[in-house]
Subunit: 361 residues, 2 copies
Amino acid sequence: MPTIYEIAKLAGVSPATVSRALNGTGYVRAELRERIRAIADSMDYHPNSLARGLLNKRTYTLGLVVPDITNPFFPAVARGVEDVAHTNGYGVILCNTDGNLQKEAKYLKMLRTKRVDGVVFTTSRVQASHVQDLLNAGVPVVLADRRLDVRCDSVSADNVDGAYQAVGHLLSLGHTRVAMITGPANLTTAQERLEGYKQALCEHGIAFSPRLVLEGDFRQESGYRLARDIVRMDPRPTAVFAANDLMAMGVLMSLEEQGIRVPEDMALVGYDDVVLSRVTRPRLTTVAQPKYEMGAIACELLISRISHPEKEPEKVVLKPRLVVRESSVVREVEQMSRLAMAKKTGRTGATGGNNRNGQDT
Amino acid sequence: MPTIYEIAKLAGVSPATVSRALNGTGYVRAELRERIRAIADSMDYHPNSLARGLLNKRTYTLGLVVPDITNPFFPAVARGVEDVAHTNGYGVILCNTDGNLQKEAKYLKMLRTKRVDGVVFTTSRVQASHVQDLLNAGVPVVLADRRLDVRCDSVSADNVDGAYQAVGHLLSLGHTRVAMITGPANLTTAQERLEGYKQALCEHGIAFSPRLVLEGDFRQESGYRLARDIVRMDPRPTAVFAANDLMAMGVLMSLEEQGIRVPEDMALVGYDDVVLSRVTRPRLTTVAQPKYEMGAIACELLISRISHPEKEPEKVVLKPRLVVRESSVVREVEQMSRLAMAKKTGRTGATGGNNRNGQDT
DNA sequence: TTGCGATCTCATAGATGGTCGGCATCGTCT
DNA sequence: AGACGATGCCGACCATCTATGAGATCGCAA
């Protein structure tokens, strides 16, 4: 690894001149600058960001803390963060905490010794005190997908609105008994989605019944299990709103086994729009979160805060979007089926019709 | 951010003593050491890895280069890399190249100025010269999921064997006309899978027919498109082996539209075992790659190479594993259906029976 | 008890690679 | 002649580690 000293020696100038020539700062004769650049290239010179960072207190490195990159929600967010970081000359260090506070603490310690310029938290379960410690130490923090009672920037999606849209969709289709499977009661995302459910009911003049609300844990198995309870209710609900797609998937499986047709006998809506929801049968109606944008905006907020540490914290709230597919609307399914028939020739339907069981609908 | 100087002043000792006390190197009176540690803690001291790295030429940071973390194959690999890195005190910088050589070059430049201790390439398309440049500069490199004609460590899965297992499975079920949809001919993974297909045929005494092999591009649409060609063949094949799950998914959709039942009229096997393949209907028989292990082993190789730069390169080859689900075996489907019937009570089948369309089978 | 080497304990002085302000020099223009 | 711009060097500085060595302490043998 060559240094500016070696380049300086070869070029017959001082190291400082090399520095200025390569960075384009200060006065360096154009011809000399080119010569120095050529020498640097030929030596495969790469500036040492350690030495640089030591001096100007900037590492151009960010931390990204997620619970688990393997969870289908996070790669998109991470990609958003990473893209924005990269175009601004920053690198991103990935940290998987598994929602474990000890691991979280350990990672934060590492990020601090590495002197990262800022941290993006993309996770629904963060220790507020950890974030506060970071802020106290002067490390900018942006929260994504979660607001916390801490004075810092954040990006989140409007879970109340998302749930409101989903349930409103079901109600406007004529359903009056809509069951809900919520997430863990201590998570704000779960609480907000329940709130949206209530609001939608209220607006449609339907009384809220706590008996129709069952608490799941965001995992598939809980949806599978609770679907049985819903089916046994009397009168039986005609629609289910699951607070995330994984649980909706469990519901789908359970209903299938019980011979209950979706959406004819029971409509179903999920939340998150994970890839999976596009390939289930019937395909899942769900609420899409702008995952990539969340990450991208979080990173933009972070970078802007790095250069303006004192500005007022921004709280960005993004709008979720209802994606209507087959698990909620009978009409669509028939249409799909017709499309599939009519389309033996074209290939427009690569992601289209999948209803081979006409007799079911 | 306090430094050892400030701690030294408070403790009334020299900075060097603080350094030795905190690092446990050299001689420091036990009582003094404790006092220094207490002061450091109370000041929320975090050593500056820049200064440290500048001196001992170790950053404890690794680079991880993937095409796109959003592609379902990579999060698992990344997680494997990150876990091993973390337990060894390393941080991981994530780089998404999108298979774009310019971006790849730009990222590598960044990794070099950051003086990472090593790089894991987890991608099927790497520029050999980039890797060679890195190695020439003394930066250790490990390739995951890809072997390259370069002298460095690598981890990969045995694609020949995986395809061999997949096709062998179909042949042993009695199929004699097995079509294959390959990947882009210039990718080694695609070539190897084709080779496995040939070997399996050969071993079962079936002549290889080039007419049964169609070239796809690893994307869903190509599977969808080529499935029509396969259906039109005369005599029509009774089974299809797709070189990855995405293409298999396209085949599935196409067959569905054409009213061809899977697996009764046409058996189907994919490759990769992406999550999606567990929720299609019928669920996809496929070849699972040990993704997490690939990442973990790659990182272990890398870390061991960092401390032993001169040892012989290791080429680790992992075994893929055939996962038999419903798209290939008729019997299983029936069994599932029976299970589903019998299981109105238990919940063993959360991921089990999904066949509500008895009349289809 | 003394003497001497071995072991502790800690401070000083670079060194790491790069940046930046200050300053000296030189040429040119007014 | 004086001023000013262009050019390039010098030295300080960033936070930490390590080699070196000075002084203190201790054990053990004489």
